[in-house]
């Protein structure tokens, strides 16, 4: 393997600066002591982080996002785990078509999904409700939950299951005591990646959210549409910090490279 020459390293440095610049700028501006946007900032202050507390819309939106992400990822797993077990273990007619259908939310632009859900939920009379948001998010995060669970179920050693069966375990005991613990790392990572997807989604949610059910990205987006001030940068910096924490946890639990490989085909 050859090593990188000076030109490569210069290119690499410029590239990394390009990738980090917008994220670093948001975090820098968030600590400004001024009442307006300024770059570079003169000094350091937490006033805009404290200001978040006095803007209840952001705080409420944060809790909506948190609850929505946690709940929809959990519900998605309730559907995804059995489906993943079926796809991993059985060769049956329609198996490929089913996997394609289950991964299709990755292929459909979120703006189309947002419109389709808005139309559907309005016509069945639950438009604008939190339940509608949950159902929509379950569908959008389903592929991520399915994929990581599927990877765990495919690589699983089944001899332990056979042993449990031969000792007289029934289906439910087998699943609860043997199968689930074995695929748990995949299931937990699937939940975490699904949570991040739900927590970040703007394009679809912006069609469905109403003032009472605005998620954090939607609130941030609508705020930016009106004006950009240091408050929205401190909110963004907090979101970045939360995501980074989730990333570190995910890395410890499962390995970030495997998680990202699961996300790499989004849009295909």
């Amino acid at each position: 393997m050859r090593t990188n020459g000076p030109i490569s390293l210069v290119f690499h440095t410029v590239f990394v600066v390009f990738m980090l610049a917008p994220i670093v700028v948001v975090c820098l501006v968030a600590f400004t002591p001024d009442g307006f946007l300024s770059l570079p900032t003169n000094g350091f202050s937490l006033r805009w982080f404290r200001a978040i507390a006095s803007y209840p819309e952001f705080v409420r939106a944060f809790w909506v996002s948190l609850g929505l992400g946690a709940l929809s990822s959990f519900v998605a797993l309730l559907f995804a785990v059995p489906a993943a077990l079926a796809i991993a273990r059985y060769r049956f007619r329609g198996r490929d078509a089913l996997s394609a259908l289950f991964l299709s939310p990755l292929m459909i632009p979120h703006v189309v999904l947002g419109i389709a859900f808005l139309r559907f939920f309005t016509s069945i009379g639950i438009g604008g409700s939190f339940a509608a948001l949950i159902i929509a998010h379950v569908l959008v995060v389903f592929p991520f939950a399915l994929r990581l669970t599927l990877a765990a179920a495919t690589g699983m050693d089944r001899s332990v299951e056979m042993a449990a069966l031969s000792l007289g375990a029934d289906d439910w005991t087998l699943f609860r005591r043997v199968t689930l613990p074995l695929i748990l790392p995949g299931v937990v990572s699937g939940w975490a990646l699904a949570f991040i997807q739900s927590f970040d989604d703007l394009t679809m949610t912006v069609f469905l959210a109403t003032p009472g059910t605005e998620t954090l990205p939607v609130r941030m987006f609508l705020y930016i549409q009106d004006n950009i001030d240091p408050l929205v940068t401190s909110v963004s910096a907090s979101v970045i910090a939360i995501t980074m924490t989730a990333l570190v946890v995910l890395d410890r639990f499962y390995g970030l490279d495997r998680v990202l490989a699961g996300k790499s085909d989004a849009g295909q």
């Binding site: 089913l98 632009p109 703006v111 069966l165």
Partner: protein, 302 residues
């Protein structure tokens, strides 16, 4: 032995066969019903919606007319908007390919700890909120004395400040940044299949670095670049947050126009037609280029 083991699961008796035939359907049935109920039906309703009539005072009328499709086909505003959508997506895709592919190659040549560190730095943004990332670009672009302009002018690359906010240039740059990790990831995956000994063989036979890259590396990672390009293009063409924040209220792309029709003008049938057209165009482009790539690179995929 008092309790004989349940042999039906261990041997392939008729009951085991039956069980195996029914099990996958029983396990996938809940998810299948979920998908039919809240994906297939809403999508079908959206397609139908695009054929309905709408008026400022009468609202949506459930009739079958081609009014919306006729308007999109004849009004040059829509042609211009779709052309802008695909032009911006294509330029963003080109930038990610031109810069992302060499970066993946450089990353791949780094030693262990540096490699994983920079891979995290470059791929991590993928999981950070798109709104936060785009906000960063809005701050960098902001006005004539934005940091990007100051930087470019101090390098002597430009004489006077370039407008980035509310322009296609700004949209392309910000979109390229948002989509870059997908390209790096895709090329990275292709590089993992490359045998480093072939490069060494070429080197020992006297090939220059440039020849090695052009004749050995590039042909082998090209499928990775192309499949990355398909991902980046389809995500860019349907992107919402970045064009909405950087492009402002005037410079519309398909996703932001559909949003406007739905939530501001309230002309749902027209918005549905724009969205359906975007979906159909993207599916055709993605399926078509996938087929082309697979035929062209059948050797590599085998």
């Amino acid at each position: 032995m008092s309790t004989a083991p349940d042999t039906s699961v261990l041997t392939t008796g008729p009951s085991a066969d039956e069980r195996a035939a029914r099990a996958p359907w029983a396990l996938t049935a809940p998810a299948l019903m979920l998908f039919v109920g809240i994906l297939v039906i809403p999508l079908a309703m959206t397609v139908m919606l695009s054929f309905h009539d709408w008026g400022q005072y009468k609202g949506i009328e459930p009739v079958f007319i081609l009014k919306n499709w006729h308007e999109i086909a004849t009004d040059p505003y829509y042609a211009e908007m779709f052309w802008r959508t695909f032009r911006v997506a294509l330029l963003a895709t080109l930038i990610t390919a031109v810069f992302g592919a060499p970066e993946a190659y450089i990353l791949n040549r780094m030693s262990g700890p540096w490699k994983s560190f920079f891979l995290l730095v470059i791929l991590g943004p993928l999981l950070i909120s798109v709104v936060a990332r785009t906000l960063g670009w809005a701050l960098l672009f902001g006005g004539n004395n934005g940091l990007v302009n100051k930087f470019l002018m101090s390098l002597g690359l430009i004489g006077s400040p370039l407008p980035f906010m509310f322009t296609e240039t700004g949209m392309v740059v910000a979109l390229a940044h948002v989509m870059m990790p997908f390209m790096v990831l895709s090329v990275w995956a292709a590089l993992q299949r490359l045998d480093p000994q072939i490069e060494n063989a070429a080197l020992s036979l006297g090939a220059s670095s440039f020849t090695i890259i052009r004749r050995i590396v590039l042909p082998q990672i090209m499928p990775g670049v192309l499949s990355g390009a398909i991902i980046v293009f389809s995500l860019s063409a349907s992107a919402f947050a970045t064009p909405a924040i950087i492009g402002g209220r005037r410079l519309k792309v398909a996703a932001t126009l559909a949003y406007d029709e739905f939530l501001n003008t309230l002309n749902w049938p027209l918005g549905a037609a724009v969205a359906v057209l975007l979906l159909v165009a993207l599916v055709l482009i993605v399926v078509g280029s996938n087929a082309l790539i697979e035929r062209r690179y059948a050797e590599v995929f085998r």
